[in-house]
Amino acid sequence: MGLMDKLNDLDRRWVYLLTWIFVLFPLLFPLGLPVPIQKESQAWFNYIKNIPDGSVIIYSPMYGTSGMPELFPMTLGMMHQLFQKNVKIIVVTFWAEGALVFDQALRQVDPASYGKVYGVDWIDLGYIPGGEPAIRAFGEDMISTAPKDYIQGQPTGSFAIMQDVKSARDVDLIISIETGTPGLTEWLRQWQEPFKVPIIVGCIGVSAPGMAPFLQSGQLSAILPGLTSSAEYELLINRKGLAIAGVDAISMSHILVVLLVILGNIGYFATRRKS
């Protein structure tokens, strides 16, 4: 078997080994490759920056532990930016592990360090089971759908933040960090269209193409796709974190994909001519 034959049909174990090296090396020895700010992350940053004071925001971690490598960094980054602002934040999730993921985020970002008081400036309503019907029910009547808060187990209606917030009609923005269903389309059907609540979505990279039509139609106001955008966002809020740490690995793994595709095609054409 000649070199060209090998290039045309490289054993997958070599591909796996190369991937492992290309991902692990920059994680152990950061290369500091440049990270240019793109329009998506800039638009996202500006959107949050321009949220008016006093706005009521639904902040929804709609993902489980499997989505954490890609979405956890933007979840943390957004908490830093949101807690700096004078807004009311209602945390709620329709993913079973979402509340536990947010618990982990709270261990890294303490709202009290931004002077935010629980029950006054923000509240965590935890997980509501039921998928799309639950999103709908929560939009119609928040307090009966989430009767108790997640952190203190007290009646939701007893908190100061909920005195003027009863349904989706009282909400100014949804921020959904998500990996799939329920997610954007359910929010659009049950909140954005009926109640005209704007929505912005942070998502895993593979979800972004499916969201393009909603972004263009204006139903989706901004999008932050994948770890690369998270890294750019971390630069914008001036808080280098997990995404910046991982972005070199993204560059290197993408370089490997391009190299392998080029080598594979060279091998393919060389062996085809020979045969």
Partner: protein
């Protein structure tokens, strides 16, 4: 009496009532229908919450049988069952005796077990994607060459190394995202929506009975 309750018209009628109650408030503002629809929606949440118990029962059934039969890898099933039992007990919502999702045992297992394992499973995709890209992106004909070019440019537009080297990669990636990708996704979205509407109409008219134990009369 039991014969009457077994009649196919009853579930069809219930389906029609439930569907109409969810559709009408979307277009018309009739207070009594809105209230009824919201009440029925709350029932759905209760049903879904109860359905949660099917998960553990199914897990015990599948892995219990695997342990009983001593099939290949049966010892992994013991691990699954043990983890399920420990996490279920530690996470029971009885904070008075120290149990809840904030219980230290539950938190430790979730943070250092569940989170690490799930993230690893997700990370493994990188290996498969690299291997798949290497094998699939071959310029065998015009169609596959177009896929290859689109794929490679999208890869490059998403890697900061390439976009920092030449911003044109991002411009090309954005064009692929905003023009051919969006056109295709629109077609898929609209097609799926039309299909869903057709299915809903068939269900409402009692023609579609696939959800009724295979649709038998």
């Amino acid at each position: 009496m039991s014969n009457i309750l077994r009649r196919i018209e009853i579930p069809i009628f219930l389906t029609i009532v439930a569907t109409v109650l969810q559709v009408v408030p979307y277009y018309l503002d009739i207070p009594i229908i809105n209230t009824t629809a919201n009440n029925i929606n709350q029932w759905v949440l209760l049903i879904v919450a109860w359905a949660t118990f099917i998960g553990p029962l199914s897990l015990i059934q599948v892995h219990g049988k695997a342990v009983q039969k001593r099939g290949s890898g049966w010892y992994y099933s013991i691990l699954v069952l043990a983890a399920a039992v420990v996490m279920s007990i530690a996470g029971l919502p009885i904070p008075e005796v120290g149990l809840s999702q904030r219980n230290p045992v539950y938190n430790w297992l979730f943070t250092y077990g569940q989170t690490a394992l799930s993230s690893t499973m997700y990370g493994i995709i990188a290996f498969f994607i690299t291997s798949a890209a290497y094998r699939a992106f071959r310029a065998k004909n015009i169609e596959s060459t177009l896929v290859l070019l689109a794929g490679v440019f999208m890869v490059m537009s998403n890697a900061p190394f390439f976009t920092a080297s030449w911003p044109g990669f991002k411009t090309i990636g954005d064009w692929i995202f905003a023009v051919p990708n969006m056109a295709t996704n629109r077609a898929v979205t609209i097609g799926a929506a039309l299909g869903a509407i057709a299915l809903a109409v068939r269900t409402l008219m009692g023609i579609e009975r696939g959800y009724l134990r295979g649709g038998g009369d």
